[in-house]
Assembly symmetry: C2
């Protein structure tokens, strides 16, 4: 944290940020989210939410802790076992890990669906275009022909053949209301959130307490490593994951890491 | 935190945010900082920094802890004792507490000086105008005819008869480099920062670990209560404040409060 305010993320292209910089991940994250706001992908409040997350990441030690790695492996196994897996994309996810989400979708056979808290046609369009620039072919979320029960109208919109029908959903950086409503639909829900006490990881089947910028590529690596595994092996990975322990581990790390 | 993502700060005027809302302070803060970005007062990265601070505020319990109240009283006494006190204003300070800073300046006889990490003539102008809308008369920081030693050119700019000559400076939400350089100039430095471990509070004579939205009005209240005090009483207030204990208290609260 000490160096936080003294480094500027103010470069034109992210390639200009030196990879050996001690604050590389933080600089990259801030650069991408700022570009996301400028491109109309990310809501201004997303910049605030990202800052909030970065404080928890600082307290976690800015690394993937072992229990988060376990969660990422279990999440990969869930996605590989699923009949209809869907990866949900909001403005921060699109800004931070567009190419990484496309790779995870490819590695697991999942669909990508744009799903926004502050939904406007312009932002849906900007995000869809951004994902296509990063290699996405099909992007769901434009139909919005189904609703998640128990949510207000705008927030409930999903695709009938996307999130609505999915058996496993990855909802990174999701708000608590929607995470809870999705959970009540009896889906297997995977959440990425840096605050282990917030509602989304608390209700998730697989809570991943990690920075999305590390978590998504790591899930893809696990998926690639497990791609030829038998169903029984995948089920073992899923069953061995202990969500309570993962949440407790992350909380302990945040306390002790300070 | 659980309710964090489910409330929207998306109102036209801050008067529309109900004061009895359980997330009132957070909503007000996010609303003001978002308007600050829109008005060209606050840098986009300021939104990120504010989010980061809000996570620490959440861990602190979103209240002024007793040691922070002590720090705010000591800060008020320092400002009243000073010959040339200056309150430094950056983009986040201007967005969050413009009127409150003007009131603190009035209560303590301090000058206001605009002092930016990302300095442009447009932002200086927008912030000065914003402060004047909130009742400021004289605003320093436009001359920039002196330099803080040991800082790069842009970041070092201050007014000769402002921060450069000040004996007591309040630098809220200051970056570590500048906080350290100011400290080396042998000024009494008061810092407001929600992370007790970041460099600015670590080097400050009076580190205030509190949300600026609570800290500044509370400093004004203390200043008003102390305004008729004898110099000896003010010196006692200053001497009784224990900066180490205040930093330790805040750290303990952040750990235990989780």
């Amino acid at each position: 944290m000490t160096d936080y305010d003294t480094v500027s993320a103010d470069v034109e292209h992210e390639e200009e940020i030196p990879e050996d910089h001690p604050r590389y991940q933080d600089l990259l994250t801030r650069h991408r989210i700022e570009r996301g706001v400028e491109k109309g992908i990310t809501h201004l409040q997303g910049m605030h939410a990202e800052g909030r997350g970065s404080a928890f990441d600082y307290l976690l030690g800015e690394e993937t802790i072992p229990s988060a790695d376990d969660a990422e492996r279990a999440a990969a196994a869930h996605l590989l076992l699923a009949d209809d897996p869907v990866l949900s994309i909001n403005g921060n996810v699109a800004a931070l890990v567009p190419g990484e989400m496309v790779e995870l979708a490819d590695a697991t056979g999942a669909d990508l669906e744009v799903n926004l808290f502050n939904r406007t046609p312009e932002r849906i369009g900007a995000i869809t275009a951004h994902l296509r620039e990063h290699g996405a072919e099909d992007v769901k979320g434009l139909e919005a022909d189904a609703r998640i029960p128990n949510l207000d109208h705008q927030r409930a919109k999903v695709d009938e053949d996307g999130i609505h029908a999915a058996d496993v959903v990855l909802v990174p950086l999701e708000d608590g209301d929607r995470a809870e409503a999705l959970n009540e639909m009896d889906k297997t829900e995977i959440v990425i959130d840096l605050n282990p006490l917030s509602r989304s990881p608390q209700v998730a089947d697989v809570p991943i307490v990690d920075n999305i910028i590390r978590a998504v590529p790591n899930m893809t690596e696990h998926a690639n490593a497990l791609t030829d595994a038998e169903e029984a092996e995948l089920r073992t990975v899923v069953e061995e994951f202990d969500r309570e322990r993962a949440l407790e581990d992350a909380e302990r790390r945040i306390r002790d890491g300070l």
